[in-house]
Amino acid sequence: MSIILGLLTLVLLYIVIVQISKASDLIKSLRSGDKEEETFGNSAIFVSVLGFGILIYSIVTSFTYAKTLLPPPASEQGVWIQWLINITLLMTGSVFVITQILLFWFVYKYHYRKDRKAYFYADNNTLEVAWTVVPAIALTILIGLGIQKWFKVFSPTPKDAIVIEATGKQFAWVIRYAGKDKQLGKRDFTLVNSDNELGVNWNDKASHDDFIADEIVLPVNKPVSVNIGALDVIHNFYLPHFRLMMDAVPGVPTHLWFRPTITTEEMKKITNNPNFEYVLACNQGCGSGHYNMKKKVRVVSVEEYKKWMKEQKSYYETVVKPAMAEKEAAPTAESAAAPVAATVSAH
């Protein structure tokens, strides 16, 4: 019933608009020629007022919403990116304001008048060169600064970096720490089974001290090296507060390193939000649960980090080894990887 009423109101509204419009156009066409000037003048005011209204709206909201954006970048890399954004904002922002003012000012100033002629002005090579060269210089500056920071973000990973691995799947992240040896155990996707979600090759000794963490814990001011991958479809390892992201692509490993600079506790004070927490999200459409791939990220002091590391248990020692021992005890059981390997070779 309410649908019908709503639709009826809408239809009536359109009928009213059509009738008013018909009448007003009829009146306009009945007017004598000298009213033409007035009509175009009114239209010019109409368009300029809308244009300047929108310009004021966009400038005002830019200031009011500035406070609601992200807190200061929580990584060294984020600071570089923020700096470049500020410069770009300054340059494009001023061009935006100047050109929009010119556009809507011209619309009003040069609107049709009967006794005036437009100025026949077809070209001017000096002007064309000027507004080719000036943007070219401005853009060269932005390109130069951009590429410099870009290579800094993707510079070689420092040797003392903590090594972690993030693997995206529908719809969660699996985080693996390299443990004491700072080396992640090798993986092979054909080894995947219910006890070995990531397909880690347990014959690789480097895998033995690796552990799976249910949150990302990072020491402040220490470089972190993240190996990124995905099991099923493309995901994106996205850390909004650190201003960083990198695609997680099945079959094509990617990598990112960064240096967190603000601990979670410090950020709680900066944002004045006692519940503040850093998050890892997915930023590449990956299916119906894309919006819900959250992982908590904690940046802590070096001491806290060491304490936390001690509490973590190697996945190999706690889960895999006991299971293997159990299976060896039962002689008929097949090796864990065999069924999958068989399926793969069958195709």
């Binding site: 359109y14 494009t92 002629k117 853009l139 993707f154 397909g199 479809v233």
Partner: protein, 607 residues
């Protein structure tokens, strides 16, 4: 420049002869309105199809904006209307992703590519260059009917039990390749792929036709540098389409192989539900390269026709020549060439070699130069003009405003370093909707208001056009301007709800405002549709040359005869922008068909 080549190819002769006999044979309703070979009718067919698609695509955006604005509310009314997509009054996530995917596909391909180019290339190219029809009217009709077939299949896919494609309009594999990962990647994706192959065939038939018509069928005196900028823009658009769309077909064909024949072009090392799949050696990144090799030029396919029409409309209605005619042509050429070597800026975050990223940053930001030249030339065209603000010029001015706003944020996103923060956030949505979505729609509206009298012999209602402009201009900024802030606050795109993340959830009110604005803008477009169809029947009768324009289409009989001109084709003597040339004359325009005076011949510039 003075010498003009006489173009009287056999094709023109033939069309000429045909023009005399053409209107003698009897035409049925079917041959006149449905299976017509006349470029004017085919143009209208493209326009009407585009309107139908735009309403469907717009309605989808209303549905997902309702979800984003009120994620916690239930809508039993909507459930009654779209039972398959709702559970307990709430939109299903699968349906949400289907909506965003189809909205993108429909708007980018079916409305802003097929309909925008299809309508205006068809109506304007032959009429503005003085040809009796397209080089191949049959190919032209086939182009429409292939588009129609593609439309039927794409529309049908919405009603499949597993739903239409839902992997995003960019259909990145493996999500689009493996039905296990998303219900829409089952039959829905198959139909999507088939529809797109037909669509590309349609685009190619159309594009080849436009190019050969422009090159071979210009009337006597119409040298390339006497063509209006609309024709130049449509000409380059067609070339971009011809060179880039086949690459989409190759991407699609390999995806079909991966889906159906078990090949591994895009797939490798895939595990689903604890089960390793037998794909090895492929790369999902390969698909992205192929897709964006079309996908980026595609945005210029969308925007160039709008740019061409806006250049023409601004000149006519400000009663001034377009400023820097040749600079405008060379900037289109610059955009066309650069447009082919910037595609990987959509892929900065795929883990590409940083060196490659820096090269694509360089080319991408360079494209801002020809774009800036165009904006400055439009502004100078308005400067000291005698501007008649009416529906076409209003929307052309709106286009310039939108193009500036959206173009400048391209300088942000094209810089790979800035993209590290903003990639795939709402900032990107704001950028591309303003610069290629809304701007292209403004160009299209300007074109429809301007050439409506040529298409239907009547004028559109101005009051409705003013209401339409106010709603669309203000509403579009209200929808998309705040999305810049969402993006800078880190809010990612393609989220069904933001409530799962505290970091993204604090824009609840803003999201409601955006959704309300979106609904109002959608309803505002219906005013345009009412105006359009009402004016076809009831609009004020148009005079022969209602805007006092110089170009040839306004010399062709108003009722739109087959063959376009009675008797001989018009002869062209001057460029199309002689507005207010003689300050002492009462008439402020000199049509292209008027011979040069002795005085003008001595003058070195522009004739």
């Amino acid at each position: 420049m003075q010498t003009t080549t006489v173009i009287d190819s056999p094709a023109t002769e033939h069309a000429h002869a045909h023009g005399h006999t053409g209107h003698h044979h009897t035409e049925t309703f079917l041959s006149k309105y449905i299976f017509s070979l006349d470029h004017k009718t085919i143009g209208k067919q493209f326009l009407i199809m585009g309107m139908i698609w735009a309403v469907i695509g717009g309605l989808m955006s209303v549905i997902f904006r309702i979800q984003l604005g009120w994620p916690d509310e239930t809508f039993p009314i909507l459930e009654k209307m779209f039972a398959a997509w709702y559970t307990d009054g709430k939109l299903n996530p699968e349906a949400y992703y289907m909506m965003v995917t189809m909205h993108g596909t429909i708007m980018v391909f079916f409305v802003l590519t097929a309909s925008l180019s299809g309508t205006f290339a068809n109506i304007l190219i032959p009429l503005q260059i003085g040809a009796r029809d397209m080089a191949s009217p049959l190919m032209n009709a086939l182009s429409f009917w292939l588009f129609f077939a593609a439309s039927v299949i794409m529309f049908g896919s919405i009603f499949l039990p597993t739903g239409a494609a839902s992997a995003g309009w960019t259909i990145y594999p493996p999500l689009s390749a493996l039905p296990q990962t998303s219900p829409g990647s089952g039959d829905g994706m198959t139909w999507w792929l088939i529809a797109m192959v037909l669509f590309v065939a349609s685009t190619l038939l159309g594009g080849l036709n436009y190019v050969s018509t422009v090159l071979n069928m210009r009337t006597k005196g119409m040298s390339m540098f006497k063509m209006p900028l609309t024709v130049w823009a449509l000409f380059f658009t067609a070339i971009i389409g011809i060179l880039s769309f086949p690459v989409l077909v190759s991407a699609v064909v390999l995806l079909i192989f991966d889906r159906s024949l078990g090949t591994s072009f895009y797939l490798s090392n895939i595990v689903i539900g604890g089960q390793a799949l037998p794909y090895a050696g492929g790369s999902p990144i390969l698909f992205q390269h192929l897709f964006w090799f079309l996908g980026h030029p595609e945005v210029y396919i969308v925007i160039l026709p709008a740019m061409g029409m806006v250049s023409e409309i601004l000149a006519i209605h400000s009663r001034k020549p377009i400023f820097g005619y040749k600079a405008m042509i060379f900037s289109i050429l610059g955009i066309t060439v650069l447009g082919f070597i910037v595609w990987a800026h959509h892929m900065f975050m795929t883990g590409m070699n940083p060196f490659l990223g820096s090269v694509f940053t360089l080319f991408t930001l360079l494209i801002a130069i020809p774009s800036a030249v165009k904006v400055f030339n439009w502004l100078t065209t308005l400067w000291r003009g005698n501007i008649k603000i009416n529906p076409p010029s209003m929307f052309a001015i709106g286009f310039v405003s939108m193009f500036i706003s959206g173009g400048l944020t391209g300088i942000w996103l094209g810089n790979s370093t800035v993209d590290i923060q903003l990639h795939d956030t709402y900032f990107v949505i704001a950028h591309f909707h303003i610069v290629m979505g809304i701007a292209a729609f403004f160009g299209m509206f300007a074109g429809v208001y301007h050439w409506f009298p040529r298409m239907f012999g009547r004028m559109m209602n101005e009051t409705m056009a003013y209401i339409h402009f106010a709603i669309t201009f203000v509403g579009s900024y209200l929808i998309f301007w705040p999305m810049h802030f969402l993006g800078l606050a880190g809010v990612p795109r393609r989220y069904y709800t933001f409530n799962e993340f505290e970091a993204f959830a604090h824009y609840g009110t803003l999201n409601k405002v955006i959704s309300i604005a979106a609904i109002i803008v959608f309803l505002g477009q219906l005013i345009f549709l009412v105006n359009f169809f009402w004016s076809i029947k009831r609009g004020r009768k148009s005079t022969q040359n209602p805007w006092q324009a110089n170009t040839l289409e306004w010399t062709s009989p108003i009722e739109g005869i087959h063959g376009n001109w009675e008797g001989d084709l018009p002869e062209v003597h001057r460029w199309p922008y002689d507005y207010s040339r003689d300050p002492n004359s009462d008439v402020d325009f000199i049509p292209q068909t008027v011979p040069l005076t002795e005085e003008e011949k001595k003058d070195k510039i522009h004739h």
